[in-house]
Structure formats: structure tokens, C-alpha cells
């Protein structure tokens, strides 16, 4: 017991010395995107994270292409890459990032309680959410669409649900589920919700539902993975700008994240991240959206 404590004390001492030493060396390379100490305004969130050399980022663990926990136990996807780029800019190495699962229902809560520093989780910017948290970005603009079987021509858009005989599946507590509700004639016999989209796709394959609705990029992922079985029914019918969720009122941090996004939009890292992940399922590379610095 005593031994371990002494070792721990020694380790902490060494660590703090090391950090102090680094701080002295690195003061002129503030914009270098390698890990290590950097200069940030005293008292800012950036300085705090940089000092601690660790960051907690919330993402989804079940969203193919954006944030999906892989067989190696690590999350992967576009959201995850964006998170890594921001951490990088804060001088924090990839292996110092703690990834926390933030399903749609708990995202605001986790930010408010400071359980996470950032949320990058296919997080649509909207006014209701802005009451509780702040958004940086958007870093991508998706739109809700509808996935149907490849040979189904009876569904052409959300209006096809108004007749009341078509059934649709989405995910509990998500924006798409709320959006589609207003097109339904009878919620009880038309809408089913599960915890992950994979289950919706299974239900579509087996014929319990006629369609799955969520953001186009997620659906494109399913089309690519089941070649020839599914297609999109028509155009996107909403705009879903994905933002990065931050604690409300932390303007300096928001500006920093926005600046980082601007930077990666310009230097090609954004495009690379896209092509390595969600972009695998889509032919054209999208143009980066305009950042909304409200």
C-alpha cells in the first residue's frame, strides 16, 4: 500500500515536471498540430484540456459510417475522425481520447453535466437543443431520406405515408422519428422504433415494414453494404446540419472549434476523413458547409 502510494506520488511529480518542461519548449509552435503542450488563453477550456492531456468525446457506437464500435472495440467513422482532428488541434494524442457512447436521448444531458467535453454524434443543430447547449459547426449537412427495397416503386417520398397503409421504422428518440410522425395517418399502425438502425433494416428485409427513415448518409451506408437490395425513395426532405455539441456559454471554446473546422475544411483533412469513412459509400465528395458563428 505504502509502496504503491510512493510510486504514484513519484509518477505524478515526474509527469508534472515533464509537462512544465514541455510548456517551456513549445511556446512558439502553437499552431503545430502535433500532440504536446500548446499556448492557450489562461483559464480557457482549451488550456484546461491541454494541461490535462486528455479529452472525453461523446459519439455514437452504432452508426455505420459515422461512429460505430468496431470488432477491435474502438469506435470508427466520420464523427470519430472529426473528434480526433479537434483533439489533435488541442495538442492531445489520439490514444488520450476517452470515447463515451452518447445515444440520441442523452446527448444534451451528458454535455450539461460535463460528463463529456464535446459531442460529435450525427447531432442535428436545432433551436430547441440550443436552449440547453451550444453548437459549433456545422461540419456536414445531411438530409432525411427514406430507404426502401430496390423493387418498391410505391413509396416516392414522405407523402406516401399519408395514405396510412405504409409502415416505417426509425430509432427511438431521434430527430428522424419525430420528423416522419407528421406524415403518418396513424402512428400506432405505421411507425415502429428500435434502438439501432440495423434492426430497422432487418425488419425491412423481412417485410415487417416498407421503409426505414433517417439521414441519407446512414441509409447510403446500408445500400452499399447490401448491394442491389435497397434504394433511396426520392430526394432528401429535410436539412440536417450536423454540429458539435458544447457546454452552453463557452464561447471561446466554440470559436476555437469553429476555427479548427475552418482549418480542416481548407487543408484537406476534412475531405480525407470523409473519404476514409462515410465517403466510402457515396460517390461524390460533398463541399464543406458554411460555419454558423452565431
Amino acid at each position: 500500500m505504502r509502496m504503491t502510494r510512493m510510486v504514484a506520488v513519484a509518477a505524478v511529480a515526474a509527469l508534472s515536471l515533464g509537462i512544465a518542461a514541455c510548456g517551456g519548449d513549445d511556446s512558439d509552435s502553437g499552431n503545430d498540430s502535433s500532440s504536446g503542450s500548446k499556448d492557450f488563453a489562461a483559464g480557457s477550456t482549451m488550456e484546461k484540456l491541454n494541461k490535462a492531456q486528455k479529452i472525453t468525446i461523446g459519439t455514437k457506437f452504432d452508426q455505420p459510417g459515422f461512429g460505430l464500435k468496431g470488432l477491435d472495440g474502438k469506435p470508427a467513422g466520420f464523427d470519430v475522425e472529426i473528434g480526433k482532428l479537434i483533439a489533435d488541434e488541442l495538442g492531445i494524442a489520439d490514444d488520450k481520447i476517452t470515447w463515451v457512447e452518447t445515444p440520441s436521448a442523452v446527448r444534451e444531458e451528458k454535455i450539461e453535466k460535463a460528463e463529456v467535453d464535446l459531442v460529435v454524434a450525427t447531432y442535428t443543430i436545432n433551436d430547441k437543443r440550443k436552449e440547453r447547449i451550444d453548437f459549433a459547426g456545422p461540419y456536414y449537412e445531411a438530409g432525411q431520406n427514406i430507404l426502401v427495397k430496390a423493387d418498391d416503386s410505391s413509396i416516392t417520398g414522405p407523402d406516401s405515408f399519408k395514405a396510412g397503409d405504409k409502415k416505417v421504422c426509425s430509432v427511438q428518440g431521434s430527430t428522424p422519428a419525430t420528423n416522419i410522425e407528421k406524415y403518418l395517418a396513424n402512428k400506432a399502425s405505421q411507425l415502429v422504433v428500435f434502438d439501432v438502425y440495423q434492426k430497422c433494416v432487418d425488419a425491412l428485409t423481412n417485410g415487417q415494414v416498407n421503409a426505414v427513415t433517417t439521414d441519407n448518409v446512414i441509409l447510403l451506408g446500408f445500400i452499399a453494404r447490401n448491394e442491389g437490395k435497397f434504394k433511396l425513395a426520392g430526394e432528401n426532405f429535410t436539412k440536417e446540419p450536423y454540429g458539435i455539441g458544447l457546454k452552453k456559454g463557452d464561447t471561446a471554446f466554440r470559436t476555437f472549434v469553429n476555427d479548427t473546422l475552418d482549418k480542416i475544411f481548407k487543408d484537406g483533412q476534412w475531405e480525407k476523413a470523409w473519404k476514409d469513412t462515410a465517403g466510402k459509400y457515396v460517390d461524390e465528395t460533398p463541399t464543406p458547409p458554411t460555419i454558423n458563428r452565431y
Binding site: 436521448a105 399502425s189 415502429v192 423481412n206
Partner: protein, 235 residues
């Protein structure tokens, strides 16, 4: 607490749906359990094996997995559980007849799972009848069926009623899982929707849902306690 008043319809319709689910599943579970118990005491060995296998599998498997197989395994077998669209019954229980099969899948999952416990409760009741009773019945020349009907089952029923009641209470509580497997609008799904999609505060919603479940479980529990106490005194 205003959410209880503002969204009273969500709680009321959720309660009604959960109640329907429980009622239909209770009937299904009693049927499955009786069938299982008959199989387990039948003289035909393969039927006994099936009965035993059924009980062993379902009582040791988490209900979550049973629900999963009902909701995603049955469709793979090509079934939408359409045999539960019973004419007449579906006008009272409207969810039974709709195209979306998840309410029916929920009934199947709960019936199969609970049936295993019903089977054991019935068997424990039969075992509680002293062997001397059945022997005496046979000695005066009653056949197997007569023996069951006039001597063993009436006594077994008395011994089984309290365990059976407990099983049904457990089933009512287990029905909360249906909301996570595609049944839209029952108590648990309604609660999730209120807290996650509409952002209502959690504690009042929890209170509402709790009241919904306690309305069903608490009176049943008190009734069982009374039956049991009276029985202990009589003994």
C-alpha cells in the same frame, strides 16, 4: 409534476396498451404452461422430453433474448404471427389486427417465457398432492383421467394458485420490455418518448409509469398475500 396532467393521455393509453398486452399474454402463458405440464406428465417419453426442453430453455434464457427471437427470429421463419389476428378479438384489442406485427410478437415472447414458469408452478402443485391421494383413487378403480380430474387436479389447483399468481405478477413487470422491441405506445415506450423526444423531466414521468404498473401489480400481490395467509391459518 405538470407532465402527469399535460400528458395524461400518454399515460392512460400506455396503461391501456400494457394492460391489453398483459391480459392476452397471461392467457397465452396459461395455455402454454398447461400444455407444457401435460406434456411433462404424459406417458409418452418424446413428449416429456419436449416439455422438459421447453421449460429448460425458456426459464434459463434472458427475456431480452426471447424478445429478440420473437421480433427478428419469427420473421426469418416467414411468420408475421398472423394466426393471432383472431376475428372478433381484434375489434376489442385493436393492436392485434394491425399490419405491424410487433404487438403480436410481444404476446408470443411473453407467453412463451412465462409459460415455462406456469408449467413449473402447475407441476409443483401436482407434486404437492400427497401420493397417497392418487394411490387411493386408483385403488377404488378410477382411471388416469378420472384420477386427474376428480382427485389430483382439484387439490393441485389449490397448491398452485399462489405460485401462479406470482408468475403472472412477474409477467406484468416483464411486459415493460415490449416497449424496447417495437411495441409503440405502451407504458415504457411512452415514458421513453416523453423523456427523450419531448425532453420532459424524468422523475414525474417515472412516477406516472410506476403508478401504471403498481395499479396492476400491487392489488394482485395483496390478494395473493391474503390467500396465502388464510391458507397458512387453515393448515
Amino acid at each position: 409534476m405538470s407532465v402527469l396532467v399535460d400528458h395524461f393521455d400518454v399515460f392512460a393509453s400506455g396503461f391501456w396498451l400494457t394492460f391489453q398486452l398483459c391480459l392476452l399474454s397471461a392467457v397465452g402463458a396459461l395455455l402454454m404452461g398447461t400444455l407444457g405440464a401435460v406434456m411433462r406428465i404424459s406417458p409418452v417419453p418424446p413428449l416429456r422430453w419436449v416439455g422438459t426442453a421447453y421449460v429448460t430453455v425458456f426459464r434459463n434464457c434472458p427475456l431480452t433474448i426471447v424478445f429478440f427471437f420473437a421480433a427478428f427470429g419469427l420473421p426469418s421463419l416467414g411468420s408475421n404471427a398472423d394466426f393471432l389476428k383472431i376475428p372478433g378479438l381484434d375489434s376489442l384489442f385493436t393492436r392485434l389486427g394491425i399490419d405491424l406485427p410487433y404487438f403480436r410478437f410481444g404476446i408470443i415472447a411473453l407467453s412463451l417465457y412465462t409459460g415455462a414458469f406456469v408449467c413449473e408452478a402447475i407441476r409443483s402443485g401436482i407434486n404437492a398432492v400427497s401420493p397417497g391421494q392418487a394411490e387411493a383413487a386408483r385403488a377404488i378403480g378410477l382411471t388416469f383421467t378420472q384420477n386427474l380430474r376428480f382427485v389430483v387436479l382439484p387439490q393441485a389447483w389449490k397448491a398452485a394458485i399462489v405460485p401462479l399468481g406470482s408468475v403472472i405478477i412477474a409477467m406484468i413487470k416483464n411486459s415493460a420490455l415490449a416497449g424496447f422491441f417495437g411495441v409503440v405506445g405502451d407504458l415504457s415506450n411512452g415514458a421513453q418518448n416523453l423523456t427523450s423526444a419531448l425532453g420532459e423531466p424524468i422523475i414525474p414521468v417515472f412516477v406516472g409509469v410506476s403508478i401504471g404498473f403498481l395499479i396492476m401489480t400491487a392489488p394482485l400481490g395483496l390478494l395473493l398475500d391474503r390467500i396465502e395467509r388464510r391458507r397458512t391459518v387453515a393448515r
